[in-house]
Symmetry: D2
Subunit: 311 residues, 4 copies
């Protein structure tokens, strides 16, 4: 419906911002803030958006809310940038119906994390292969590799095999930690073995973005609340200026590191977005992290220090 007629593919690059899902102070979905936040991201120059990921609190939405967030975002973006939709779910049937709904609305592709309790390479491969077959070759897939939350470890050989076997696997959200060698191995083995080179966008808030760009990343897929920095850093790397890129990155690193804290990081991110005027409330659905007075003061101090550094 609102597609820009483009799908994600192996050439996708730049910053795909992981969008927060805004709620009102009473926990209800805040669709007006969906508009405002979308505008905020677009103004900061993101190359794409990823909605309904883990940081989008997708598991805490009802199906109706999921649909509402999708529709509102697609309408507001209106084809300006490609949108990837998170479709991870305990049931493959649900993954398929979510993916169909997303693609019908104009999604550029879907992001898929593995279900829990996959242990061996074979189990991880089989999970993804089953879903890839179910979705078919026309729905581009971004593999979400985030073992810190899923508990599932996806080895380089599994990623390689999926790339070899399924043309729709075009992107990796690289979020293993530590994961830099993994990134280099994927690039090296693709090069040496004549394998298709997929798009790799890095997560973890971008904590290692400069190092990862130097190792062959194509950009970032993360939700750091100052996406303009990520955009500029990627642009400087594209312009062949890695040191300028890293100088800029380092100015934001203290705050980025602060937001990196698992769990409470989401509350911090939403609070920054709220303070920056991008959403009307920093509410996180329960059970979820809450900021106390110390957290607020600490965050304010770090934001002030950043502003002074940028001045």
């Amino acid at each position: 419906m609102y597609s820009n007629n483009s799908l994600i593919d192996e050439k996708s690059r730049g910053v795909y911002v992981i969008a927060a899902t805004p709620f009102k102070d009473d926990g209800e979905l805040d669709l007006e803030s969906v508009d405002r936040l979308t505008d905020f991201y677009l103004e900061k120059g993101v190359a794409g958006m990823t909605i309904l990921g883990m940081m989008g609190e997708a598991p805490k939405l009802t199906l109706e809310e999921t649909t509402a967030v999708m529709q509102r975002t697609f309408k507001r973006v209106n084809g300006a940038v490609p949108i990837v939709v998170g479709v991870s779910h305990a049931s493959n049937r649900h993954v398929k119906s979510l993916a169909s709904e997303a693609m019908d609305l104009g999604a550029a592709g879907v992001m898929l994390a593995p279900v829990a309790n996959l242990k061996t390479n074979e189990q991880v491969y089989n999970y993804y292969a089953t879903v890839a077959q179910l979705l078919g070759p026309d729905i581009p897939i971004c593999l979400q590799d985030f073992p810190q939350v899923t508990g599932v470890h996806t080895s380089v050989s599994v990623i390689n095999q999926l790339v070899d076997d399924f043309e729709q696997v075009v992107m990796l959200k690289h979020e293993d930690f530590p994961g830099m060698r993994k990134l280099s191995q994927i690039r090296q083995e693709a090069s040496e073995q004549g394998r298709r080179r997929i798009s790799i966008l890095v997560g973890n808030g971008g904590l290692f973005l400069p190092q990862e760009m130097l190792r062959g990343a194509d950009g970032a897929m993360t939700g750091f609340a100052y996406p303009e920095m990520l955009v500029q850093v990627c642009a400087l790397f594209d312009a062949g200026k890695p040191d300028e890129a890293e100088d800029l990155f380092n100015i934001y690193l203290p705050l980025l590191r602060h937001e990196f804290q698992y769990g409470i990081g989401l509350a911090l991110r939403k609070e920054i977005l709220h303070r920056r005027g991008a959403i009307s409330s920093a509410y996180v659905r329960r059970p979820g992290p809450l900021l106390d007075a110390n957290d607020h003061e600490e965050l304010g101090r770090l934001m002030n220090r950043l502003e002074r550094s940028l001045a």
Copy 2:
């Protein structure tokens, strides 16, 4: 609507069977088998039913399907026995809406497992306390203590504190493993400290049912595919015949142990229910365990051995 006008409470005892959720071979919900399975359980003499638990594949249902299973089961049971409804969910809002729907349909209470990633006693207590306050004192709660799957460990002191602080906490589905000392501690501390004595129904397929009855359990809440044995064992314990009870239990123990296997246990259970004519298909939603030829033959051999033992 279909209530027998009774709620679970501290006196609840006997076998509350964990109901499987039947699907057709294509994965669609099989509501006719919901009827058939309900009849099967009632014929076996269960004291109650628990629907939409983990073994009921609740996380793999859509909201519409969840409602359909509830309605069909309540209608078929028609007040014959109390029904507990599993309402565990990542979002407290969802827990509340599921619980309201269940109670409106005539549920006797709700079963609640903790969300993931609760680590300390305080975190576990706070999770349950928040939800208990949200649901209010009129909805009886069965705590589901199943760390093997949830990863959350609920200590005796947390259970005691919840019992002290929330009158609606009336039942424990005891499924920690090993967990027998925990059961004894709860009983002993209630007795010594004048605490309210709640109902404790044991899980894990009933693998330690005789030992747990001797330690003060009030029955079983589990889905072993021969619920008639669980019913008879509990009745024999009630009649003061623990050795006869255990003799009977031991006849079924080889098969019970077989079904105890995590993961594939659900597929085995559904296959037995299918072979016993209680459901039309043994289908488990994907991703999920599948039986192969060896598994089928092995199960058949064990079922034959059981039948010979009973003859």
Copy 3:
């Protein structure tokens, strides 16, 4: 020194009992009970012994104590049966020195569990391959596959690759749970792919011994405190009498299931061995499980029931 000149190999079969390590009531090593327990095991007809495994509390021994247990056991066994020695350790150097010491004393081979935090197939393979190369082709290795304790999952393909690459990998202590399909897969893939058929001895107290023998196991490597049952069951399977074997097994199943409880199972096992006169004290080194009055009474009741069943 005390070797029976035989090493474990692909043909090894029967019951290799996992030996407890006896302590006095004050926690000191009890070498006289090492003798007594060794005699007990030999009298029960075990085909081999495995010392210094996890259930042997090996991580709680000093190096001097480790050496003392080895020497005493080898001397007492005096070549009567092969002895496998557990050599798992955080440091490969230590694995090597332990293995050398064991082989010099006359060990038939070593048992090796992986270190913690190995996640992917590649990591697990590389760990074992590195150690196998370090130990060299002359030291037979039994892979200990016990993810419930180690947290490491070893897939069938990793086991196959190790068998293909290292002739000294001759045995698998099969203890994954549920793990029966794994056992069948190893056998099937060896047969279909012309791979060397290694010895597979099952663990988990023998909870699924009859099923596992039917799936191709060669025996058991476990520490159930009534090893004579395991010995007879294996003999009956060898004699082509699987139903008689399982009938006998089932008589012990209630107690075997009781001992299966992780953690407290070791205390129960030692208490049974103590009651049977095989060791002078049931002491388990701290921190470790302790039996209380309820546990003692419950165990006594189950032992009495077993004796009545056998009478």
Copy 4:
């Protein structure tokens, strides 16, 4: 023997550097580098040292090596600063003997991490309480709270109870992540409830050192390979100059974040110490992380950038 006659206590503050354990390229202990590294740390102005912790590869040393590292370090320090010795072990008997040996050599106290598989508050408390009683009131204890590695979560209430019950619990190595609220809670509850205020030194490489100092930390106990920065930051905080402290900290933050990577972080740390001339080899005992050419180049680039920033 080499004591400075001082024990750690509630007033201990500043930087207690977690000392690496140096090996030669063949994996043998490198005692000459123990001297060199000790000198390096002392020259950088550390307030104390902590040896034989996890980052000191203590689990990979033999008892003889453990003793050798202790003796060499104590001799070289010669009372210049207090030394805390890590004594964590699977067996309480071993903890006691290690602690006795350390104190006899002049240690200022011992550091103790919990054994694995402690789940509830009661289990964690009981573990520490048992060991504290075993060691007695004369051996000061530093609690090591590092759930990312131990898997054990120690709640604020458990820490408080240990402080209340055992006067020898004088220090917390604060390394939970995210853990800043925990730090604030400990301080606040001590203040509000009149509890003894213990020393809190922070870990995780110091990734949040400025924030933690503002929340009431007394310093750092970590092994960042530029300990002079940690020393100066703590001094600036003591001098009431938090902004200057954080400005300095931020210069090192890119490299500190780099070293923060679990697993490979130890190899990076040793490589930096090697490049800085503090140890003769960066060898890490196997199995352990190895740096490849990319890692070396990346590290060199980051070190060069740091040097330019400091110039």
